[in-house]
């Protein structure tokens, strides 16, 4: 994964490694994350709301004694919020935080598809969308028979896009 972190910010280069990816859907779009990052997939359970958090942080759950945060990827990607269906699940991923420590986080997704073996030849570089779309956390696009899957660098997404903004927001928040 070290190579991906240095090059993924330059569009036009393929930074995703070939290998197994877990694919899931958000609305009509399809995404993939490296299987190695995925700890387990659970059914939605009662989420405890945490106050003063951005909307995409749904709250925390009890995962067999561990308290882990839950992020709604739909809200994160600014897609419309969806009603919970029987296909909705929480993908628990293990990420490496900026501080070097490991942490578990749950991602709410519309549905899990499959574990796909993606060959290097199937992966296209991320197109340059210009300023309208930040693609730093996108590893590349995989063309599979089911359509195009966006491969996510989950460490980068959750760190840079979620953990850091939360921290910044809280530190600048009024009241303290």
């Amino acid at each position: 994964m070290t190579a991906t972190q240095t090059t993924s910010s330059t569009p036009g280069k393929v930074s995703a490694d070939a290998g197994k990816y877990l694919t899931f859907t958000l609305g009509r779009e399809s995404y993939g994350i490296a299987v190695i990052k995925v700890r387990e997939i659970i059914r939605p359970i009662n989420i405890t709301l945490v106050p003063q958090m951005p909307a995409f942080v749904k709250g925390v759950i009890n995962l067999r004694g561990k308290v882990i945060p839950i992020v709604d990827l739909r809200l994160k990607f600014e897609l419309a919020e969806a009603k919970e269906t029987e296909r909705t699940c929480i993908v628990v991923v293990q990420i490496v935080l900026g501080t070097g420590t490991q942490a578990l986080m749950g991602l709410v997704v519309d549905g899990v598809e499959e574990v796909a073996n993606i060959a290097a030849t199937d992966i296209e570089p991320t197109p340059d969308f210009g300023v309208t779309l930040d693609t730093t956390y996108i590893l590349g696009m995989a063309k599979l028979k089911g359509g195009v899957k966006t491969l996510l660098d989950i460490d980068k997404l959750l760190n840079a896009e979620i953990v850091t903004p939360i921290l910044n927001r809280l530190e600048n928040s009024p009241g303290h």
Partner: protein, 723 residues
């Protein structure tokens, strides 16, 4: 000479050093290997024409070894010591030569001395050598793990040494204690030799010899000897601390230099004194020369700083003990377990208890009419409760170790401030969470220092006041109402209410028209930068410290109470939770959500009547609680949730207190009191200051724990926004 040869030379000298570690006086074990290693060394040096100092040193050693082989054929105490020193010197010298620096000069006494079989009377006259302090270079890459173990073990040994010495002060002839200190130094020597830590090994060796003489009743344990042992322990501690910081990567690897020569000289003086006394079994007086005493005393007080590297001073000593490995002495059958494993075990047991209660409450199961099932479920309940109890107790350690450290502290302090103070401890067997014991150590050191420095009066003042000349500080630990209380009481001066108040006014901490209770005034001493000491002493009085004490205790979710009677003394009581893992919480409901408020900060709760509520400028709301106006904090508006009720007279008010701030929290209902296991919310929510953590509630859902400390500092939202 090329670097490779130096490497080989170093290698050989290291091998010699490790052979010597296992050698014993009166035996020939290791003598032949040393002889052959020395031979290889000489060969290397002559064929490659090594530097003159090294050649000279090798020749010296050859002379000694030949001497042993020709006479008794066994090592003697003195020859072992000499060879050990030699090996350490040689390693240093090789290193210096490899770096093209001149090596330290050969100690002069070596050249004169031949090594005789054990005949202490002819041991060379000791003298303080002005040679360079030996330095240690760690091989972190290769020995990292071993070094880590060495440090871990050392901490225990150091503690044993320190505790032992304090016992010796009371009872100098205690054979068991002498043995245990001896063994501690011995193990130190072995370990350091194995890891090639020459300087530590040499020091440990000398100290071991000292204890050995005492063990054989050849040396009386005098205060000077005790000071030597303590100073030795402290120096070893400095070494291990330095190694520890380098191992953990907090300091860049480099040579470690801790001054030892001075101390070594003193120890050797004492040793020589004993040998000069001849073989009389029990010398009546301490065989130490006066000038040696003086030197020792200064060495214990101020570790001589002669190096470019910052040498940990006495304050570091305190820090080190704080992080030290606390373990009760005694033959406890114990194994060491990684705390992470322990925590995950406790987590899982907690989950098991929840799962068990879910099973017991299962509706389908409850329709089954079976006596057997009921019995089995009850049995399961018992077992899981016991299991939880045991799991919780795993983290508990007795407070004894820390109290013993305080004895040492008081002992050193009294010498420094010129007062007579005794420390009386009680309740050493009280157990509390290991983390708390570690965290409370620093605050306690501060408090004891304060008591000794400010509390207890000078002997002459005490006499005038008709008190015994010797002041007493009581240190007590006991259980009270689900908390651990640590009480520090002194029979000294007491706090000066007027002076504290005057100082607070001067610093603007309180306003002139504020009326404060005694307790509130005494609490002011915990404000940052607050000191009423007339003069700043070495020990305390700079006004830093007590605010740190307060912060540490807050962090542990404890509180502190002060009572004081002028002229009679003061009492500080620290209330601490039994364990950091569990808190006693008040479960409150706001709308559909449940929150936990730590019970320790809850004063009371009630349903306010309409006439109790008043507003300022139509915005700031206050509740009149028996004549005291307390700001009302509408929790739901801060937490961004929808309450069942926005009208205070329809809801419940919980009065919380943190420091000197009090707030009324508006909640919908009280759901009960519960002991909950605290879980960290993790990095993502680190910045959310309203929350102290999370806990798994009885139904398996997560409940959030509010942090009263942060709540009382929240801005009171204007009423319009809140309503």
């Amino acid at each position: 000479m090329n670097p490779q040869i130096f490497g080989e030379l170093k290698n050989l000298s290291e091998k010699i050093a490790s052979e010597l570690v296992f050698a014993e006086a009166g035996k020939d074990l290791g003598l032949l290997p040393v002889n052959s290693l020395l031979g290889q060394m000489e060969e290397l040096l002559t064929t490659h024409t090594g530097p003159e100092p090294l050649m000279q040193a090798a020749r010296l050693a050859r002379g000694w070894v030949d001497g042993i082989l020709e006479t008794t054929g066994n090592f003697s105490v003195s020859s072992l010591k000499r060879l050990g020193e030699w090996a350490a010197w040689f390693q240093m010298a090789v290193q210096a030569c490899a770096g093209e620096n001149p090596p330290a000069p050969l100690p002069g006494e070596w050249a004169k001395a031949n090594l005789e079989p054990d005949a202490p009377a002819t041991m060379p006259a000791p003298q303080l050598q002005a040679t360079e302090e030996p330095s240690l270079v760690l091989n972190i890459e290769g020995d990292g793990e071993l070094l880590g173990e060495f440090i871990n073990e050392s901490q225990e040994h150091l503690q044993n040494i320190e505790q032992g010495v304090l016992v010796l002060e009371e009872n100098p002839a205690d054979a068991e204690t002498l043995n245990s200190i001896f063994r501690a130094f011995h193990t130190f020597k072995g370990g350091s030799g194995f890891l090639n830590l020459g300087a530590i090994q040499t020091l440990a060796h000398e100290l071991e010899s000292l204890l050995d003489l005492a063990r054989q009743h050849k040396l009386a344990i005098t205060p000077e000897v005790i000071n030597l042992i303590l100073a030795g322990g402290d120096t070893l501690k400095q070494f291990t601390n330095e190694i520890g910081t380098q191992l953990s990567g907090k300091a860049s690897p480099g040579p470690i230099v801790v001054p030892t020569l001075h101390l070594l000289g003193c120890i050797r003086d004492v040793l020589a004194g004993v040998s000069n006394e001849g073989h009389s079994a029990t010398p009546p007086a301490a065989p130490i020369r006066p000038e040696a005493n003086a030197v020792v005393a200064s060495a214990t007080m101020v570790p001589a700083i002669e190096t470019s590297k910052p040498v940990p001073a006495t304050t570091v000593d305190v820090k080190a003990t704080g992080s030290g490995n606390l373990k009760a002495v005694g033959p406890a059958n114990a194994i060491k377990v990684d705390t992470l494993k322990l925590d995950s075990l406790i987590d899982l047991v907690g989950e098991l208890v929840i799962a068990q209660s879910l099973v017991v409450q299962n509706r389908d199961l409850n329709t089954v009419r079976s006596e057997q099932l009921t019995r089995d479920l009850a049995q399961l309940g018992h077992i899981s409760k016991d299991l939880q109890h045991t799991a919780m107790s795993l983290r508990m350690v007795p407070i004894r170790g820390m109290f013993q450290k305080m004895h040492r502290l008081v002992r050193d302090l009294t010498a420094k401030v010129g007062k007579h103070v005794q420390l009386v401890t009680e309740g050493e067997d009280t157990e509390l969470d290991r983390t708390i014991v570690e965290e409370i150590s620093d605050p306690l050191v501060h408090m004891i220092r304060n008591s000794v420095d400010h509390g207890i009066e000078k002997p002459e003042v005490r006499q005038q006041r008709g008190k015994p000349e010797q002041g007493t500080v009581f240190l007590k630990a006991f259980h009270r109402g689900g908390n651990i209380v640590i009480e520090i009481r002194d029979d000294g001066n007491g706090l000066n209410r007027e002076r504290i108040l005057a100082k607070a006014l001067e610093q603007g901490v309180v306003k002139p028209d504020e009326s404060l209770s005694d307790a509130q005034i005494f609490n002011l001493i915990f404000a940052a930068g607050f000191s009423t000491a007339e003069k700043i002493t070495d020990v305390s009085g700079r006004g830093v410290g007590l605010d740190v004490v307060r912060r540490n205790i807050d962090k542990l979710r404890g509180k502190i109470e002060i009572q004081s009677t002028p002229g009679e003394g003061s009492t500080f009581r620290i209330y601490l939770p039994l364990t950091l893992a569990i808190i006693d919480g008040l479960l409150v409901g706001i709308g559909e959500h449940r929150y936990i408020i730590p019970t320790l900060s809850v004063c009371e709760s009630f349903q306010p009547r309409v006439e109790m509520i008043s507003t300022v400028h139509g915005r700031g709301e206050m509740i009149n609680v028996r004549g005291r106006l307390i700001p009302l904090l509408r929790l739901y508006s801060h937490l961004g949730i929808k309450p069942a009720n926005t009208e205070p007279s329809q809801s419940i008010v919980v009065v919380v207190e943190a420091g000197k701030d009090v707030r009324c929290l508006l909640v919908d209902q009280l759901l009960g009191k519960q002991e909950v296991v605290i879980k960290s919310l993790g990095e993502a929510f680190r910045g959310n200051r309203c929350l102290a953590g999370a806990a798994i509630l009885g139904d398996g859902r997560v409940g959030l724990i509010l942090d009263p400390q942060a709540l009382v500092h929240l801005e009171i939202a204007p009423l319009e926004a809140a309503a």
